[in-house]
Symmetry: C2
Subunit: 504 residues, 2 copies
């Protein structure tokens, strides 16, 4: 009997390995398309991508997969942990995909692709009315899918669970409520502060190749392994793990604003450290990946904000930056530089927001999505709802829909429930930092010495190596002894901004 | 009935398209591995490559493929030319792979991979005895495979046909005999010439990025389409067509010898022009590829030698080269430069040989392979046979086996019958040039004006666009009105070297 299970287990792992092989080939094509693939080959490449993606989709919903799930689901004790968790992932995927009638899923894929191109046009023309019928259809379809999938407590929970297993409206209402309540008055205080940092020197000419060299030096300092990765240029930066031995970072250079490349590279470098340090043992399974969008973002935001925007980090690296720059910082003290890169002011565009105001952009989107899927907000009212919330939370008002409800790509692809992960990652990061400091009490000193390896090692031991073996909230609980708690992020933001703006 | 055939035809084309999609993904992985893929990811990437290659192999020998071949083979008149030729390619592949017992093929693949790594070691140690047992086994296995495949006239013909359909020992004995007979005395005459070119200035420092810029300018002049390609750096240069809209060139930079990059890029650029200009209509079929190794090589050698080493080409481009170089050519006349880049002298290593002596390196390998597969030469005698032939044809003698019989990788991978294509390509190129000059009588003037587009267009019209729709000898016949003829290459070499060495 156990021999029989062993045999099925091995076959199942081979089957899954094949799916992962296709995924690795797909990842390389994705990276290539975004780092210089010749334009005229793109159409044909898309066909190849479509072919391989459809192979993976078919394998994930095949009768063969159904048989593996059926034959192995009762044998938890006979299976390795890796097999069992892999089976759970496959089952989740199978259920999600199988519950939607094939015809409706196909229509949805077509709708997605149309909606994305219409959204681009609508954003360019700042005209929500063009996009509205597509968004209405996307929402309507997603509501119907929630009907197929079922839900627990709140319909929106089903969407949240796709990106952040275990996170619910109940949890988010609590933590986002706390965040909003504490951040809004701090933003207000800062806008009234007389001690605003001087920032004009940030925007002087910094040659691209020098930005690249500095970015490489910082990645090296972070412990990014260049034998298992490379740095390339792109338009919308990302990090991508093909396997733990090949995790690539991409960045963008703006010669009038070095921050784009430097903080962008540190951010993507944080994602990359995660993927480089997942246990090799998980290669060939769906577990060889970040456990959730939020935990992934906790790693990138940790490095971007708690390392890259930390004063001790610049005590070590400011002179180095000056060496690569062409004189723009020569007359600027470390203190003034530090304050400049931590300027905070309310703005309209999420991806340009600073550390303090960023969570408010996310909270606005969360409240809107929750309203939509609980039938409290209608798509036709979105432009106005958006404007009202920006005015209320941030004190700014978009002049048009391109600066407002049309700014993000997510909804046009039918990705509802994704936004909260960004702010969750930030909260996770603050909680993890608090726990880390119990093991590494001289955290700031490590930064000042440029000794970032103990930080990477701590993350590897507590987060990275598990891949998807642990769920996001299990990681958080095992490390911090508690669930999601906004308090740590709030304390961090208060401490930092009181100092930067010399409040009180 | 015809409706039924239409249906099968469409299914067959879909099936083939899928195989080609996998091949395109494989090509991207191949390119990536050779242009900077992180080292630590290579092992896992090899698994992915193995998985996809085995998918393609299985599809090419599946029962489904057998059914298509059976169902469509009788319906030539009902099928499009594209489908019919695709079917022929698939059938050839199917027969070749199916005739070998699966177990023996598997053993052969394992042997290949072992032999390649042993060959590397043997070459490093200049010790043929290490490699000998593996080469014996490779030869023995290949002989057995020829038994399965059958042969026509000469056993070696079966191997030749794999790389150059239609070419036989009978043809090669004739043309290689003529070549050898005419080249050997010319080589002798040159070695006795008092007018040897001065070449020391070639080896001065030429910065890599400047070599790159010059190479890009020349690719542009050749008509290489940068919207359908890119130039990258690698160790062993190659060109690769993922599809006609994405054909990539790679090159290598030697800062003490600019010729490596410049002539290498022109050579690979010739291959790339072929792949960029295959008819779009053939995408998704095995016909979307060069028709043979030899015709492919005719394109690269045409550009490398008949364009890149032509005096008129340098009348246009020598000043440009001087701009990119750091003064090494400032005191050198065009005439002296031209003579230097056309220096000819017998050497031991094939890939370092000049235009004149190159065919002799190939003829030696041809004679040896033919001898082996006709049981006239034994593997154990190869080092001595090699030395004797080099002394006889080129007047040089390798000091050890690394400089001799171990220099090329081909045999270690079981690639017998491949070498002749290099010299065939050269002869094709000379014949095509002769035909081209009937349409473009002012060929040299075009080069002098930097107007290379008519040359590219002539090739597109007469060679490129057909892909594998035409067999190599059909292309030759349709364009030149005759079969393989060594005379044109011989005349070219005599004209050129009498001029360069001021003979008589």
């Amino acid at each position: 009997m156990s021999n029989q299970i062993d045999k099925i287990e091995n076959e199942f792992l081979e089957y899954v390995k094949k799916m992962e092989s296709y995924n690795e080939a797909l990842s390389l094509m994705y990276w290539d398309l975004r780092t210089g693939a010749p334009k005229q080959g793109i159409e044909q490449r898309s066909e190849v991508i479509g072919m391989l993606s459809s192979d993976v989709f078919k394998m994930s919903t095949s009768n063969e997969m159904a048989d593996y799930i059926e034959q192995l689901s009762g044998s938890k004790d006979d299976l390795s942990e890796k097999t069992w968790k892999t089976l759970e992932e496959c089952k989740k995927e199978y259920d999600r995909n199988k519950k939607i009638p094939a015809e409706e899923y196909k229509e949805f894929v077509i709708l997605q692709s149309k909606a994305e191109s219409i959204w681009e046009e609508a954003k360019e023309k700042a005209d929500f009315s063009l996009f509205r019928p597509y968004l209405e259809k996307l929402v309507e379809t997603t509501k119907r899918f929630i009907g197929y999938w079922g839900y627990d407590g709140n319909k929106y929970n089903t969407l949240l669970d796709m990106y952040e297993p275990g996170i619910t409206v109940e949890v988010l209402d609590r933590v986002f409520g706390e965040l909003r309540e504490k951040i809004v008055p701090l933003v207000q205080q800062i806008s009234e502060s007389a001690n605003k940092p001087e920032t004009t020197f940030l925007f002087e000419h910094f040659p691209k190749n020098k930005q690249r060299d500095f970015s490489l030096a910082i990645l090296e300092q972070m412990g990014y392994n260049f034998n298992a990765g490379r740095l390339d240029e792109t338009v919308h930066p990302f990090a991508i793990g093909l396997n733990p031995g090949d995790v690539r970072v991409t960045t963008k250079y703006d010669e009038s604003d070095f921050r784009t490349a430097v903080f962008g590279t540190i951010h993507e470098g944080g994602h990359a450290l995660y993927e480089q340090n997942i246990s090799q043992d998980l290669i060939g399974t769906p577990l060889c990946d970040g456990t959730s969008m939020g935990i992934h973002e906790s790693q990138s935001l940790f490095y971007e904000n708690f390392v890259g925007r930390n004063q001790s980090f610049w005590k070590k690296n400011y002179d180095l930056l000056k060496e690569y720059a062409s004189g723009q910082f020569d007359e600027i003290s470390l203190e003034d530089f530090y304050r400049a890169i931590n300027e905070s002011k309310p703005s309209l565009i999420r991806i340009e927001a600073d550390e303090l105001t960023y969570p408010l952009h996310i909270i606005i989107r969360y409240e809107i999505e929750k309203g939509i899927f609980n039938d409290e907000i209608e798509v036709k009212d979105l432009p106005q709802v958006w404007k009202d919330k920006y005015e209320k939370y941030l004190g700014v008002k978009p002049e048009n829909d391109a600066q407002g409800v049309l700014q993000d790509v997510h909804w046009s692809g039918g990705s509802f429930g994704y936004f909260p992960s960004y702010a969750l990652g930030y909260m996770y990061a603050a909680q993890l930092k608090n726990a880390m400091q119990k093991d590494l009490p001289h955290y700031d000193q490590l930064l000042e010495e440029g000794n970032l390896l103990p930080i990477k090692e701590w993350f590897t031991e507590n987060v990275h190596k598990y891949g998807k073996l642990k769920k996001p909230l299990d990681i958080l609980n095992d490390v911090t002894g508690e669930g999601l708690n906004a308090e740590f992020l709030i304390k961090y933001l208060y401490d930092k901004y009181i100092n930067v703006y010399k409040l009180q």
